[in-house]
Symmetry: C2
Subunit: 425 residues, 2 copies
Amino acid sequence: MNIRYKNCRILTSDLKVLDDAELITVNDKIFYSGSADKAVEIAGGMTFDREIDCNNDLLMPGLKNAHTHSAMTFSRSLADEYCLDDWLHKAIFPREAKLIPEHVYWFAKLAYAEYLAGGITACFDMYFHREANAKAAVETGFRHVFCGAANDFGGFDTLETYYNDLNSFDPLVSFILGFHAEYTTCEDNLKFMSELAHKYEAPVFTHISETAAEVEGCKERYGVTPAVLFDRLGIFDYGGGGFHCVWFTDEDRKIFKDKGLYSVFNACSNLKLASGITSVHKFISEGMKIAIGTDGAGSNNALDMFREMYLDTVLSNVETNNAAAVDPAVILKAATSGGASCMGLDDCVSLDAGMKADFIRIDMHHPASLPENNIVKNLVYSGNPGLVKMTVIDGKILYENGEYTTLDIEEIRKVTKEMVKDLAI
Amino acid sequence: MNIRYKNCRILTSDLKVLDDAELITVNDKIFYSGSADKAVEIAGGMTFDREIDCNNDLLMPGLKNAHTHSAMTFSRSLADEYCLDDWLHKAIFPREAKLIPEHVYWFAKLAYAEYLAGGITACFDMYFHREANAKAAVETGFRHVFCGAANDFGGFDTLETYYNDLNSFDPLVSFILGFHAEYTTCEDNLKFMSELAHKYEAPVFTHISETAAEVEGCKERYGVTPAVLFDRLGIFDYGGGGFHCVWFTDEDRKIFKDKGLYSVFNACSNLKLASGITSVHKFISEGMKIAIGTDGAGSNNALDMFREMYLDTVLSNVETNNAAAVDPAVILKAATSGGASCMGLDDCVSLDAGMKADFIRIDMHHPASLPENNIVKNLVYSGNPGLVKMTVIDGKILYENGEYTTLDIEEIRKVTKEMVKDLAI
């Protein structure tokens, strides 16, 4: 499948906008991206399944949702009155106990629909019933990176099996080691986690320092913060990182910086669950590796990376009394190439030739894109899912002008409507 | 012009969702909204210019943008590095000095395009070159409420003329008394403002307590906060209210509460300019009148009421350590009926028969609307402009499935692109 995207602009890896450009995909990869002049030469010897006039719109790398629980779409706008601890125990865990693989299959598809409509081309997902979810991902054509979610209630016994099986299941699917969090995982299991990381020389991810209470609990149990504990146990010896990172100390950030670990921000979820506000500016000024995620639909409640980018840019302003506390360009990188690298998708970081063809078309004729005083700032400060005209993953157009090519949104709507009833408590 | 909207759901004034509904407009008004069964009887004797199958989508009152500077779209993503004071003096005022009526006409049209695409059916706008702006509003069919913006640099001499002229210009246009802010207005002019309010027995609006520095400056000059000062001068004797209200004291809120004044929140702008975070939960628990606005595109940078609603709901959670600090239903009311009442649009508060036909169609088949665990919460927590399928003002469909009926977005794009160059400093 060869597709030629004509009359476009391209967001380069250093966040410059290349005018008068073309992009050519061959099967799952970007074959050419650059000036239209040179594209004419290259295209001369090729045949195309489709040639698309992009109306001078912007093609840019897809947004990477670096922390989510996709199938938790079932819990959107349920139990919004709880803080994290009560929310988990009173609203979420009792429903999750009823979840069967078929639920996860359909609610993950609902999440994919929202991802595609919002310009998200990959997710880093921590959930269960993974076989069903992987099936949904492959059928949709969505790039899904699973993260281990083991805790004392289960998952450590199957972690290695998933690691091996899901990393050889399909090119769209991969698996990274991970566990739920310190507060749900005893020391023996944490040590087992470290052994596995060493055995496979593999990165490990986990929820970390999401709430003040979590950090206090860890200190009571071990005398140190979660980041210090995990580091001492050798869990991060081959990289990885943490989700949320709201209550990181200077020492926590130093550990993450020194080990090259990723801090994944989840601003909306942290606001909504009253967990706190991350000091994003500190992570950036210290040159740390960062990425951005939506968290699940139950605690956000949107799977909208534009809203995340906006908040990760502006929320530090009040704390620092500085309207330029965070550079929006750094946040746009975190949401694209940062997320890709965090998730092990090193072939999805840019629109350079040879990379996977995972990209989106941004409507540059939408009023929120105008005037073009600064396109990068427009994307971060005034972008919204309504600007996404097309989403392409692995060279396949999965979403175009509001329509899905692999998902039947009506069927998803009807099936999930019934399934919500199954999960009532 | 009679239009019949079939197969829809309707958001009622008490935020219930009426299923199996229809809505019928006759010219500029809602003629019927209610059960489909009864609609069939009523429609039997009528002829329609158009009958629309709404596919079971939700019709709801349009969002009311209760504080904005529409034509400031010229400044989107310009000078994002400044806090309020520098932003005004270094970036905005020098460019505004170059603004001519034609600029305002076109940049207001760009704002209208964004309003319509984001489900906004009326704006409360503080800016200048009002004749040009009023022309743009009437040509677009947009409901535009002007607010006086007088300060020591000008505007008090023409305030009364505008009040009389623009309130008799066109049914879509009205004018409410107002001045810029305490820090730009001397005591003599404030007294003049009060006299005018008394002469016309009319409400007055102004920027108020937006930054801590503004409040401190006022205290140095007068020994009291802006709200106390304006109250003492009698400016609020016939109602009105203030924009921002970030640094309100308990006493300020009491004055506003006792006088029935509107507090208009602008969460995004206040975050972006590092002005602060409003304690929205206090206003609500004290039963105050509230409304919501985007502020201008230079300081937000989107004209997106969904993002505002989200932030007005969740930002108080962290301050209060309570995930239910603010009821999203109250915020949705503030963004619809609250805004309408604030702006003097008492015939735009709901979709009841007899009201102006100002409403929007929300895509209930979009993944962000699913599942329907709670439709009101979905709108506030996961809504975005991409859900708006149709925007109707004064009975006319102005936006439908991404297309405008009265605006030529390509022409607006091209003209404003050139005009930005005129304004360079």
